[in-house]
Symmetry: D2
Subunit: 241 residues, 4 copies
């Protein structure tokens, strides 16, 4: 059983009519809906409660994270409201092997920026049509993904995307203004596997698209750690051979 924890900001889907229309129960519940199966269990946590207050306790405790194989992150306007100690704790667990998937505007989350070490800035424009190209069909995250697929309307995210060179570049997105974007990228940080995926604007039904669901589900299988392990900066004794 792979244990997934989804963090969702959960603001737009409570105060923006267009987002409410698309994701009435929140983006997290749509993600949960297509991920949950015999092999995957899903827990959801949100930053905002049902009264649109920021929760005092988000629910990303050490205990929860120790019982999380893969953390999925969606956030946008309230990145700075995520407490620093939560970010540190999530980062620590990724170092020890927890997988992490960052969707769309999570590129500017504290946690993703801490993992990348860069600004993660990019160009943006709304709306645009998008076509996504499969650059590495042999990769497990691209299993059953066609050579390209389209997203009717999506937010344009354009290069230059200020990230370190990804370990693997899996998809490039093309937009209706001739913009391009490294839309699916993998990174290893510590023992943790990290995946960034660009589509997923809050007012578009992107997370209902079968190919998008396939990619995120594949990424869960890929990001699951072989094992969790803490490592330090040990003084080492010489061992003769």
């Amino acid at each position: 059983m792979i244990k997934v924890t989804i963090f969702n900001e959960y603001k737009h889907e409570q105060n923006n009519e267009k987002a409410i229309a698309v994701y009435p129960d929140g983006i997290h519940n749509v993600l949960k809906g297509f991920l949950e199966c015999d092999e995957i269990s899903v827990r959801c946590v949100t930053l905002f409660d049902k009264e649109l207050n920021i929760k005092e306790d988000i629910g990303l405790s050490d205990e929860v994270l120790s019982n999380t194989d893969v953390l999925i992150w969606w956030g946008h306007v309230a990145h700075t409201k995520v407490p620093d100690d939560v970010v540190e704790r999530c980062h620590k667990h990724i170092m020890d092997g927890m997988g992490a998937i960052f969707l769309h505007s999570a590129h500017h989350s504290k946690l993703f920026k801490k993992l990348m070490g860069t600004t993660c800035n990019l160009k943006w424009r709304f709306p645009s049509k998008e076509r996504l190209w499969n650059i590495n069909p042999a990769h497990p995250i691209m299993q059953n993904v066609p050579e390209y697929f389209d997203i009717g309307l999506e937010e344009m995210y354009g290069e230059r995307f200020d990230i370190p060179t990804p370990d693997e570049l899996l998809m490039i997105g093309a937009f209706d203004g001739y913009e391009v974007f490294r839309a699916a990228c993998t990174f290893q940080r510590g023992y943790g596997k990290v995946f960034y995926f660009q589509p997923g604007h809050e007012t578009n039904p992107t997370f209902y698209i079968p190919e998008v669901q396939t990619i995120i589900k594949n990424a869960v299988y890929w990001a699951k750690p072989l094992y969790r392990q803490s490592f330090g900066a040990p003084k080492y004794e010489k061992v003769e051979l």
Copy 2:
């Protein structure tokens, strides 16, 4: 002084009216025209002679290659006519440090495929408009290149481009059918620096575009070896510390 040798197939510019109109003296002479300067000397060799016969001696001897810092390659329909021993000789010099720049359809040259170890296959379509995005403005090959520039008409080269992951991805091209392409890539092979650049179809005036010229000239400076050095597979004697 950087010594550049340009290999050009030189067939289209002698038997295709559109190519003749754009490059009446051959692509090689346009490349030579903008490269040659106080710091760069240029020699040109061609596969076809002025009677459209394939030359018995192309002119890529060991002596010529030993006096070449950077080899530039343009070929298209006659890749298989380049003798294997010429390919082996060029490859050997790249291993020892000679730089190499492959333009457009040179992706299917024997030499490039030998360096890559893959098919180098891609999708193609003609004609298309193209916009090229600068993914790494801090790279020496991208010096003085804007964040993007356009090529009015160019051949579409589309992903998946079957190459090993480049050491550095410098530009992504976008085409009018929503296709994308890793259009400027670097690779180190042996001690040699290798650069692939996608634009440059024989019937379009691509090589007259200032940004294209800037990139190719920058690549010459970048690909120049620090020194040339042959290395073998030596039996090694233990050295105490």
Copy 3:
């Protein structure tokens, strides 16, 4: 079921007393012995027959390769005796997704050099003690591999190893003359996954070491293709979005 085909040169184990003592039935049969299980079936082919003649038909036909998920290669003194058409055929299948594992002196096989595009030269010395360090414990090939393990006697292979930068560096070897070596490396070429592993000299019982067996078996699981797929260089028709 993962279908493995082992190619072994099979000369030393028939004409070198020390190699015969360690591998009386050939290296291939020791590899087969620890690989074969409910999930893995193994076929062996050799270059030399039991009379020490080079076989006219090695047994690496298109039919055999089409039924091979992962090809394992051991060769040393007779690399040049492997026919070019066999090399081309194996390369084609790797491009289409067949996995490939190259052991020890297979670094100088025609097939590995064709995949790398470089000389694959290195320093060598015999014998040496070796300690191998696990650089990426989170990688599937390193599953159940300790932070380091020792090989009592092994051939020293030393840097500079003339290969392209590996996609992933998994182990570094240290030798008793202070030499070092990138001893376990992965590369993707086409749709095929390629693994190089340095230990495995013919006169040492390296392939009986449990950690070595774990690594090679893990590599078989890792290199297995998701699917096999031939791709060409297609003319492409514009598709509207």
Copy 4:
């Protein structure tokens, strides 16, 4: 003229007799001594003053950093005493193109860890002999560096070194307990070029070794930005082609 700023902690060289004996004027002044030349100007700043108090103003203001092409960092026991706003400011300038060189125990500085996004943990042991191998003789930082050189006594830093895969691996160190280490690594972060180099313990005369000086000086030339440029996360207007 390349403008270098050296940050040195400057504690050991004032309160540890062995360090005082080797670096009586501080590590920074030895670095300055071999770097300064017609093409390179050097400014030094330190964390501790001559009374061994931590300075209120280290001297890494925006003005100083704006006038710095390459920042060199040596720190060890007082990493946590470097104020966060100094770290943020240095990071911002690296994003905009300032080069950065981290020596030895600077692997655990706040700034390096922020750039890497990982713990940067490693094994350590003192003392050890070390031999450093040149893995990429064609790289500008390796210019005039032999295939290997020795450091009589140095602190052992051993794998696993918890960093992201370097863009380029230039040297591997071997120690007298068969330990190994990726001793010279490059990383691009933002527009800035980052170099990490392992040797340089405070009680050993490592920085007087000619090959070490050559490498650090080469790294200064390599890390110098082509230009400095701030970039944001701009809303972008569609541009027709």
